[in-house]
């Protein structure tokens, strides 16, 4: 056999590379091209008109775009941190349970089974100012007489969206951290105990560093996934009231599909994709560092 064979890693990676090229890369090239044109959904011939960076300059000078941009970053920051802390707490609590842990773990994954579309409807229902669970409970308990306009007031609506987002995704962190806790080697923990570490110290200096790669994996997955906040926001508030909960993706979706200004939408989309890639690279580098500290190599 003198045939030149491909290296094994390439053979193993080839199917993944091919499918991603076909479904993601090629369409992206198409939409990159269209972001330099005034492409309008209803006028296909506009696809062939080159306008250079016109769409990008328009986006950069659009205050609505920057507000949506800032709001998206805010949502990412608050939601990811809250999910990480709550997920860590939940995983630690569940890992300490001896009886019925399996049932707990399944219950914990409950929110993940919900489609974002469903989560949106569910929380729209729960935060509904008239028949919602939250207002009904507050009024029945006598905490308030007035119907709190959860989804009508801008700040409250943002809170409701973040709540829905955190509710769905805390379990992603909890599951991954729990998997890490189970893989945690017991020897260093025992050694720490023998050396007289307090529980807090052995958590801080033994358990947590070991869990960091798992946390970063979850972080990176979620930072990309937060784009699905599109579905939730779309259903709960549709970016309203008066654009107070408009995120990058809902703005892009509206510009692309409702206004049919696809070229402009794609230009904004590219700026948003760069933001996501920035987050991914950041967490990837963190993951590498954490792995290196654990001696798990390259």
């Amino acid at each position: 056999m003198t045939r030149n064979r491909l290296p094994p890693w390439l053979v193993l990676l080839l199917p993944a590379v091919i499918i991603i090229l076909a479904v993601v890369a090629i369409p992206l090239v198409l939409s990159l091209y269209s972001s330099f044109t005034p492409y309008h959904l209803t006028r296909p011939d506009t696809l062939w008109k080159w306008t250079g960076s016109f769409n990008y300059i328009k986006a950069a000078t659009d205050p609505n775009f920057w507000k949506a941009f800032g709001r998206t970053v805010l949502l990412l920051t608050i939601a990811l941190n809250a999910e990480m802390l709550l997920g860590l707490g939940l995983a630690l609590m569940v890992s300490k349970v001896t009886h019925g842990q399996r049932a707990l773990r399944t219950a914990m994954m409950f929110p993940m089974m919900f489609s974002p579309i469903l989560v949106g409807f569910q929380f729209k229902f729960i935060f509904n100012d008239n028949v919602g669970l939250v207002n009904n409970a507050l009024q029945s308990l006598g905490l308030t007489d007035v119907a709190i306009p959860w989804l009508v007031d801008g700040n409250l609506a943002m809170f409701a969206i973040i709540f829905a987002e955190v509710w769905t995704s805390t379990s992603v962190f909890a599951i991954l951290i729990l998997a890490g806790l189970f893989a945690l080697p017991q020897d260093p923990l025992e050694a720490a105990k023998v050396d007289g570490c307090t529980p807090w110290q052995s958590f801080r200096f033994v358990t947590l560093p070991f869990l960091m790669p798992f946390i970063y994996i979850a972080m990176a997955i979620r930072s990309l996934d937060v784009a699905r906040a599109y579905d939730i926001v779309q259903v709960m508030t549709n970016g309203g009231p008066a654009r107070r909960t408009e995120l990058l993706w809902t703005l892009i979706g509206r510009t692309g599909y409702v206004d049919a200004r696809m070229g402009y939408a794609n230009a904004m989309g590219y700026i948003a994709i760069l933001l996501s890639i920035g987050f991914t690279v950041y967490f990837f580098l963190k993951l590498q560092t954490a792995r290196r500290e654990l001696g798990m190599g390259d």
Partner: protein, 288 residues
């Protein structure tokens, strides 16, 4: 003596706090879902009642009957949507796992030039949200004639799930010490055998959880499915859910019933895979 009793009190207080915390967390996690389930059995009058009815007075299967009967609630072909969802999700999960296992293994075990760049490039492909991807895909799928087919959606979901399956499985393969597989190879296994006999069983928990994630992603995806499916031949349930609302003013009871139907398979699958998950996790950890 004093310290011993103090110790005991502290331990008990911790136990109570642990229980209370867990109870609170679990009720926040479960209540919204239970609320949906409960409301799927309640007549619309009771859902809308003001002041609220806390203890249901009458439970009925009306919403389910209407949903499956096709009468009354617009004849949404729920069972067809259900079948579409099942075919698309299961097929794409299986393919994504196979592709992902190959890729994850390559990243965990081989050193090659441009590995870091390739890894980040794969992950970055996930950064593209469905909304942005749907229009070019819509045009391309329309040209190649795979729009509104199971195949088209399966293709998209495999591509969506692969990066993230690779990522998870890579992490779990890294937890398996290289020495384990090397030892098997020294004992006369081929690399292929070493993989299936040694590394795969150890990493099985990771693969199982990757499978859960992939299935749930496909099962629940909306943004792409809503553009790439047109009719009952390929529409999935999340898209079907909106069928309900476009034909009626928000029908909470009917929506809740469909929601329950969407959740059941996911619940069953999670239960089935959990066994694997636990078996893998209790392997005793990886002691290098």
């Amino acid at each position: 003596m004093a310290t011993a009793s103090q110790h005991r009190i502290r331990k008990r207080a911790l136990k109570v706090a642990h229980f209370a915390g867990l109870f609170l967390a679990m009720s926040i996690i479960c209540l919204p879902g239970l609320w949906v389930v409960l409301n799927s059995f309640r007549p619309t009058v009771e859902i809308m009642a003001k002041p609220p009815v806390w203890i249901p007075e009458s439970l009925s299967l009306d919403h389910y009957r209407a949903m499956f009967g096709g009468a009354g609630e617009g004849g949404v072909p729920v069972l067809t949507y259900f079948r579409n969802s099942l075919i698309i999700s299961v097929t794409s999960t299986v393919i994504a796992l196979l592709v992902g296992m190959a890729g994850g293994y390559a990243f965990a075990r081989y050193r090659f030039k441009g590995k870091g760049v390739m890894f980040v490039a794969l992950m970055a492909s996930r950064a593209v949200p469905g909304v942005a991807l749907s229009l070019p895909l819509f045009i391309i799928f329309g040209r190649t004639g795979i729009i509104d087919t199971h195949f088209g959606l399966i293709l998209v979901y495999v591509a969506m799930n692969v990066p993230f399956t690779i990522w998870l499985i890579d992490g779990f393969f890294r937890q398996v010490p290289k020495e384990l597989a090397e030892a098997a190879e020294i004992d006369g296994c081929t690399r292929w055998q070493a993989f299936w006999r040694v590394e795969f069983p150890v990493a099985r928990s990771g693969i199982a959880s990757a499978g859960i994630f992939a299935f749930l992603t496909s099962w629940n995806e909306y943004a792409l499915a809503s553009q790439l499916t047109r009719s009952a031949t390929s529409k999935t349930m999340p898209v079907g859910l909106l069928d309900f609302t476009s034909q009626f003013t928000l029908n909470w009871g009917g929506m809740c019933a469909l929601a329950v139907l969407m959740i059941i398979p996911a619940l069953v699958l999670t239960f089935l895979v959990q066994k694997h998950l636990i078996a893998g996790l209790t392997f005793g950890g990886v002691k290098g």
